[in-house]
Amino acid sequence: MDDALKDGILAAAHPGSLPWGGTGLVLDVEQVADLAARHDVPGCEIEALALELDVTPTRYLRNRQSVSPKDQILLLRSRVAQVGLGGLGGALLEQLLRLGVGTLRTADGDIFEASNLNRQSLSTLSGLGRGKTRAAKLRAAEINPSATLETRPEFLTPETLPKFLEGCTVVVDALGGLTMRGHLQKAAAAASIPLVTGALAGWTGYVAVVMPGQIGPADLMGTDNGGEELLGCPAPAVNLAASLMASEVFNILTGQPTLAGKMLVTDLRSHTFETVSL
């Protein structure tokens, strides 16, 4: 580690009380931003270096007993690709930013319209007509400027997917509809990275992890759009699927996914939760 940076972090840190008892060195969000600007290093790297010095960024104090410093450092130095910033994508963006994934690369060519307000957490009345990637940028700046958010305001195609996935550890399928999901699964397999996928229609949803070469939901569901055209996607079902997907991203980045080769099927009307082996 750069000595000036190390000294800077230790000088900016201060003793604070720790949620699990006692006191320890913590680093406030303003100090992270200041060090990042002065040393021209992303905030997420300042936070990772701080953790290596046994200094806890205040932002992550309340996660420390659920996310070990070692795992938090892994998250801060990881790069996740996410296709789609709609219902699933908006909720995933929020969770991955708050979890502290250091670099997120996202793509969506769509703009917000009023019919998105029922579920898409990045959609707001004042933001109707705004590009979804633009809204993602604004939200990320509000909640976690330490993360690096890369945005592509376009609909990816089978031709542009491979480059989009380059350098990423895992890819998240937050697409709407079935037409592109198979292409994304193939591109993830070609890039040799795990795919976290999920979809829903009405109160029914599913989440799966597809390891390279494995069968996945896209192989079963066809390419015509599904029941969502009729049933829509209510917010609780969207957010449940997004939470399950975000937790599998965490599990992959820090160890083992629980849903590799499986599909967790959920229904919020009957409160059915069933893990199916594919």
Binding site: G84, G86, G87, L88, G89, A174, L175, G176, G177, L178, R181, G198, A199, L200, A201, G202, T204, G205, Y206, P217, L220, M221, G222, D224, N225, G226, G227, E228, L230, L231, G232, C233, V238, M263, V265, D267, R269, S270, T272, E274, T275, V276, S277, L278
Partner: protein, 75 residues
């Protein structure tokens, strides 16, 4: 003792009232079951019996839990 049927999303409307304990006949398959329930074959993309992916030709036995899933892709 019959079988338990779980039908999801657009297939929920086909669930019979006795779907928790639905009687089957000897040699019943998923295909014959969905025909009885009035579900078009093309609407079933995923079948699972006791949490294992199965096919339309899979046989069903008393006590099985049968899941029927249509195309779902919303996000």
């Amino acid at each position: 003792m019959g079988i338990e049927i779980k039908s999801f999303a657009t297939l929920a409307k086909y669930l019979p009232e006795n779907g928790q304990d639905y009687p089957i006949e000897p040699g019943e398959t998923v295909r014959s079951l969905i025909t009885k329930l009035g579900i078009p074959e093309k609407d079933v993309t995923l079948v699972f019996i006791n949490a294992l992916r199965s096919s339309l030709d899979s046989e069903i036995a008393d006590g099985d839990r049968v899941g029927l899933f249509p195309p779902v892709g919303g996000g």
